[in-house]
């Protein structure tokens, strides 16, 4: 009987786990964070905001992005659109976001 049970796919489980965690984070943090951005458009004013804001901001941006792309990807599967389009778009955006975040951090700490 045990031979018929498929082994759990670790990578897919981790991806789903990350989706679940980012769901909680997004649900509790994202609305108030965007509300803060709307209340105080401080990002326009140099110097850049302090580290607490930047860390929260990067965390929120990553979670929002991962969560929304995963959700669209899952919906794509449920509706049987069967496109590879979202996969490639998601991969490109993820690559750009990682480069930009690294660049931003290097600028902030004065390396660049």
């Amino acid at each position: 009987m045990s031979g018929n049970i498929n082994k759990p796919d670790i990578i897919k489980s981790l991806k789903w786990g990350a989706f679940s965690v980012t769901a909680t984070f997004c649900a509790f943090v994202l609305p108030v964070f965007i509300f803060t951005l709307l209340s105080t458009p401080v990002v326009f004013n140099p110097p850049l905001p302090d580290w607490i804001f930047i860390i929260v901001f990067l965390g929120v941006l990553f979670c929002a992005f991962y969560h929304s792309i995963y959700r669209i990807y899952a919906s794509d599967h449920d509706l049987q659109l069967k496109s590879k389009f979202l996969f490639w778009i998601g991969s490109i955006i993820a690559g750009i976001s990682v480069i930009e975040i690294l660049h931003f951090i290097l600028l902030k700490i004065g390396v660049l």
Binding site: V29, I34, F53
Partner: protein, 136 residues
Amino acid sequence: MKKLANTPAPDWWKEKPAYKIYYFREYSGILIAIWGLYWLWFIGAIIFSRIILAYFPDIDPVFKYILFIPLKYYFLFNCIGFIGAIIHTITWLGVMPEILPFNLSKKQRHLIFSLLILVWLGLSTLLFILLMNSLL
């Protein structure tokens, strides 16, 4: 993703109003994705403007305009993200009592939903104060 044994018809989601509501919720993720894309563009505009304007001060005005679009539509894109986030959060908190592994009455589920909303509002207020203190 795992392939289902009995593949449903492509328009299965049109069968019941509840399925349509479910997809309305699912696709509110698009609004959050737009918000995320907007911020990538925004951060990119700040970084590249520093580099490009330092080396090429006589930059093409059309390129400059495109580069700075995110700064112009700051409130519009943040409002789009805010609407998506509110829909997503409230519907998610609404689903939580339904998926708990207990036999709860309708009244108990409503009570849990109300408590979750209160906890969410309390945490949001706390975070708002913290963020404002770090910004101002």
